[in-house]
């Protein structure tokens, strides 16, 4: 592994031009030579910790703008104020329990929603009759503003915890259903043919062909499901809640506590980013059988 990796391109007209040696990092990693230089098309190699750049940039602008004074702190609280406010909230024991309560609602809603969405997607994806019955109502549910549904949900499920979790689950169900259904129906027909000639049992067909084939779709749905689950809190915690970050923001809103609202927004951003990142990690693991533009 000591040979020098070198690439040289010869063109028709000119004398052979020596392409600069690939960079040291590649050499050290023992990567293959690329005779024609770097890969030109596609996104190329991931930047280490690149996903942090955008958020950090935003944060930078916020910090810098606040320090420079051209972000009006009365509108967008300065980051340091947000940090101290968050710390105060935490110290006074308001943030911690609120977060816990919300996290519980998030988790329960997510679990039930994902399960329901998966089952519905399978029913509707694998049977035309299932589709005829399930698909329309799901599309209707998703066309209707959540806020407007709240009165009906109140009516059916009361004003307590059950209603909150059901509402979250109903929100989560939508992306899971749509993506899984779409992913399932997008599976290459040749694999269904294969399953047919192997005379797979329906269970094996679902387990070996349908679910893994729909997995990319399902996981994309999960990315929407997790954020949807957090966002639903804003709606459900308006109703008869005495804790939770949605409630915290609602309360701060009525008293005009801009800094607390911004703390809430930052919290949402962090929770959303974190959940999304978790799903994307799972995505990368679970879909390692693929070689795509990503790799």
């Amino acid at each position: 592994m000591t040979a020098v990796v070198k690439g040289t391109a010869k063109t028709e007209t000119a004398a052979p031009a020596v392409v600069p040696p690939v960079d040291d990092e590649e050499l050290a990693a023992g990567r293959a030579s690329r005779p024609r230089g770097k890969r030109r098309l596609g996104p190329g190699k991931p930047i280490k910790l690149g996903y942090l750049i955008g958020p950090l940039l935003l944060l930078g602008v916020w910090i810098w703008g606040s320090a420079q004074g051209w972000i009006d702190p009365r509108v967008l609280t300065a980051p340091w104020t947000v940090v101290t406010t968050a710390w105060d909230l935490w110290e006074s024991g308001r943030l911690g329990p609120d977060l816990l309560v919300s996290a519980r609602r998030f988790a329960l809603g997510l679990v039930f929603g994902v399960l329901a969405g998966l089952v519905l997607a399978l029913v509707s994806g694998l049977s035309r009759w299932g589709e005829a019955i399930v698909d329309g109502p799901v599309q209707i549910k998703r066309s209707i503003p959540n806020l407007a549904l709240l009165p009906l949900l109140l009516l059916w499920f009361g004003i307590d915890e059950r209603m909150k979790i059901i509402t979250i689950a109903l929100g989560v169900l939508i992306p899971i259903y749509i993506h899984t259904h779409n992913g399932l129906r997008s599976i290459d027909g040749r694999y269904a043919e294969l399953a047919e000639t192997l005379r797979l049992k329906p269970a094996a067909f679902v387990g070996r062909v349908v679910l893994p084939g729909a997995l990319p779709g399902f996981l994309l749905g999960m990315r929407f499901a997790v954020t949807s689950s957090w966002l639903s809190l804003v709606v459900v915690e308006q109703v008869n809640a005495t804790s939770g970050i949605g409630y915290m923001m609602l309360l701060a809103g009525t008293y005009g506590q801009t800094d607390v609202i911004i703390v809430g927004l930052v919290l949402y951003a962090l929770l959303g980013l974190a959940s999304d990142t978790v799903v994307r990690l799972i995505q990368r693991r679970a879909l390692s059988w693929r070689r795509t533009l990503e790799d």
């Binding site: 399953a195 000639t197 192997l198 390692s288 059988w289």
Partner: protein, 252 residues
């Protein structure tokens, strides 16, 4: 046993009467094809590229949803197919692809054995995309080796293999054939392969079986044998190749 309407009888493994298939209106792919394969018979199918060999196999496997057509088809219940593309599930590792749909505790063991037989011992946990073209084809072959069909449909299962590996795979296929005696319909472009393996060789052309040749050579079937060469010449001629390399242009 009474004859079925349309003249089919059930004494053979495969019976096809007057099969028509077309994808577009103007160009029928199969037009009035008749074919009978006896139980336990090994038939090889030759034919120009695009002559409808895969279409015929798909019809036998009950997969021709895309095509419109008519005809009577009778096939056994247990059919196994080796597709022209190896058609491995990309999200299942190699071993899982081989034992797909098999039940029982012995399945994994049989799958490993089959993989070893096709020369892929130790690659059980590889993803399909990590295999070379020929290796993928051998996995597809292994997948059919672990089954016991009454009818085996194999669509150019050795196309991507080198000469030596190909001969080894011939041996495996013959062994499978001797074990369970399924009816076999093997599509191939290699005339020698067809002669070495099959009891009967068919040439598909313009939608019907244009030429048929029973192979009644003795046990060894040596390509250097003049009788073998004669059969080869005959079949090559049926494929449009008089003499072996001269090109007889036959445009449509």
């Amino acid at each position: 046993m009474a004859a079925h309407p349309g003249g089919l009888t059930a004494t053979a493994a495969v019976q096809i009467r007057d099969l028509h298939r077309s994808f577009t209106d103007d160009r029928p792919v199969l037009s009035g094809l008749d074919l009978t394969i006896e139980a336990g018979e090994f038939v090889a199918l030759l034919g120009r590229s695009g002559s409808g060999k895969s279409t015929l196999l798909r019809a036998l496997a009950g997969l021709d949803q895309d095509a419109s057509g008519t005809g009577d088809i009778l096939v056994p219940e247990q059919v196994s197919v080796v597709f022209q593309d190896s058609r491995l599930l990309p999200w299942q590792r190699v071993l899982r692809n081989v034992v797909l749909g098999l039940q029982g505790s012995g399945a994994v063991k049989r799958g490993k054995e089959a993989l070893a037989e096709v020369g892929l011992a130790g690659r059980e946990r590889a993803w399909p995309r990590e295999l070379s073209g020929g290796e993928q084809q051998r996995v597809a072959l292994a997948r059919s080796l672990v089954r016991e069909p009454e009818l085996l449909l194999a669509d150019e299962p050795f196309g991507a293999l080198d000469a030596l590996t190909r001969i080894k795979m011939h041996g495996l296929l013959r062994a499978l054939y001797e074990r369970h005696r399924p009816a076999v319909l093997l599509v191939t472009h290699d005339v020698d392969e067809a002669i070495v393996l099959a009891d009967r060789v068919l040439v598909l052309d313009h939608g019907v079986v244009r030429h048929e040749r029973r192979i009644d050579l003795d046990g060894t079937r040596d390509p250097s044998d003049p009788a073998f060469a004669a059969v080869r010449t005959e079949l090559l001629a049926a494929l449009g190749l008089a003499g072996g390399v001269e090109i007889k242009v036959e445009e449509s």
